[in-house]
Amino acid sequence: MTAIVHEPHRPTQTHAEVTRDVLGTLGTPSRGYYMALFGAIAMFLVGLFTFVMLLKEGLGLAGYTPPVMWSVYITTFVFWIGIGHAGTLISAILFLFRSPWRTVVYRSTEAMTVFAVMTAALFPIIHIGRQWIFYWLLPYPNQRFLWPNFKSPLIWDVFAITTYFTVSTTFLVVGLVPDVSAIRDKVTGWRHNIYKMFSLGWTGSDSQWRNYSKGYLYLAALATPLVLSVHSVVSWDFAMSIIPGWHGTIFAPYFVAGAIYSGIGMVLTLLIPLRKVLKLEHMMTDYHFDNLAKLTLLTGSILFYAYAMEYFVAWYSGNIFEQTTFWRRAFGPMWWAGWSMIICNAFVSQLLWFKKVRTNLTSLFIISIFINLGMWFERFVIIASSLSNDYLPGAWQVPAVTWADWGILIGSFGWFFMYFLLFARTFPVVAIQEIKEMIPYPRKHGGGH
């Protein structure tokens, strides 16, 4: 008797069908695509206008209110850096773990990582106010032969984010090369010439695959500790200081879990509509979204624990400043931000214990929006709320959020979605080569596809 083996991760198409289906995503865009792209560009222009006004008038337009001198811009910086983490987790860490379900979703998450880090990188530059001297952050010998202070976590962050951006872009480009060559071989005219240029002479010969497979493995091995380190370094921007609410040893793992949680939230926000627009429903199935939801549940539960532990440590420490900070997070003037963070992250993620919720794409999409909101609020609470009640009660202030803060925030979403939409129509959002690797070639006496 033949056993029926259920392998939901294994694609049901043939090699040729995979090429055809993915090529289909690069055809003439629909009206919905153009509307989405137009919306993204419009949002970006709002951000650009705000940035020009900031250049002209100065940072006074933004809602900096002493002692809250890190506010919406640094909040949004940490938010976007976090978004990037899910991409590298899915593309590198799950590659090393040989998780077959990642194959269909990893390309779009990897692209999301690159664009999220590109977005994040704008914020420290916007925040410094005098953008034309941002290069002072780099270790170059200036006129007075002074060097950066390498003991500062802010300088670690410069190195961490530059490395993260370079390595994640490299990883994306390397993964794209074989797929671009498959597209090159199917299209004609000027598109053929452009894809030919990007395929870097790839032919899929045995010598190329031999070096490619090993190189990709080592890139994944290097990207794995990197993804864990980057948000740890970002967390040390806060944890290395003595501000109540920041000075915690759990910050690194807490931030990494939060980053992955927020990143998967954005993956869901992007992929659920994308599979419909690009007609990829037969490739991105409930099985893939179920796995993404399980990962969300895991990281959401870690966050739940971290939130509880922060409150416990504040109470157990006996430190009145720490206790006051956490009391004010829940019942102070910014209670709305504190509760938004807890409800959207800790509680909403617990709905994913139910399989019906995990496999219902409408509910998953709604949950993903809550995650995005919750994770932005988490950073706002950690950064702005902690700074708003430091060691001098007389100086306590609630930060103002002005139109310049909103403008840049909206612009950052426009900038991110604009790049993602352009990518989705220019390059394969599903990894052709890795899917084909999972489909056995036919055999002489039957079998294979």
Binding site: A16, P139, F171, P178, T203, S205, K214, L222, A223
Partner: protein, 171 residues
């Protein structure tokens, strides 16, 4: 200037075991310089070709070591080049510099890995070797460089193994 075609026989296969049989047969006849095209890496083809392990790892190792050394060297040298006392801490403090050294280890290691992939893949020139676009789709291609006198025997061997299409180039 047009690239000169390498003389030889190009075969296309639909079935992987047919391609493996062809590779095994060709190697038994003494043909070593084969070029096998496929849309994705395949373990059966790798095993039949029996190539040594890629040296990309050496590039990764060297890149990583250079990055780590550069990270510590840069931070320690720059600290002592213009000593500034910050927060009462020692001038050169290797512990916080681990963050920079780690990032540079990963950065240099990754870039050197990519350099290794490109350099090693270019080591075997594929110039003039025929290629068919269907190899990036669903077919496996085998190109056997050989002179016109050997071409008929090679063609027979490939057809016998189960090739769908065999063409002689540069004859």
């Amino acid at each position: 200037m047009a690239t000169k075609t390498v003389p030889g026989v190009l075969a296309s296969f639909l079935q992987v075991d047919a391609a493996v049989d062809a590779i095994t047969g060709l190697k038994a006849k003494g043909f070593r310089d084969l070029t096998v095209y496929s849309a994705a890496p395949n373990h059966e083809i790798d095993a039949a070709l029996d190539h040594p392990i890629s040296w990309v790892r050496l590039f990764t190792l060297i890149g990583g070591l250079v990055g780590c050394t550069a990270g510590f060297a840069m931070t320690i040298w720059m600290s002592y080049d213009w000593p500034l006392l910050v927060g009462g801490k020692p001038i050169g403090t290797p512990v916080p510099y681990v963050a920079i050294a780690f990032e540079l280890t990963v950065l240099y290691g990754s870039l050197c890995t990519v350099a290794g992939m490109i350099i090693l893949s270019s080591a075997k020139s594929l110039k003039g070797r025929p290629y068919d676009p269907k190899f990036s789709d669903d077919r496996i291609g085998i190109f056997v460089p050989c002179g016109p006198e050997q071409a008929p025997a090679v063609k027979d061997l490939l057809a016998h193994a189960g090739s769908e299409e065999v063409t002689v180039h540069g004859a």
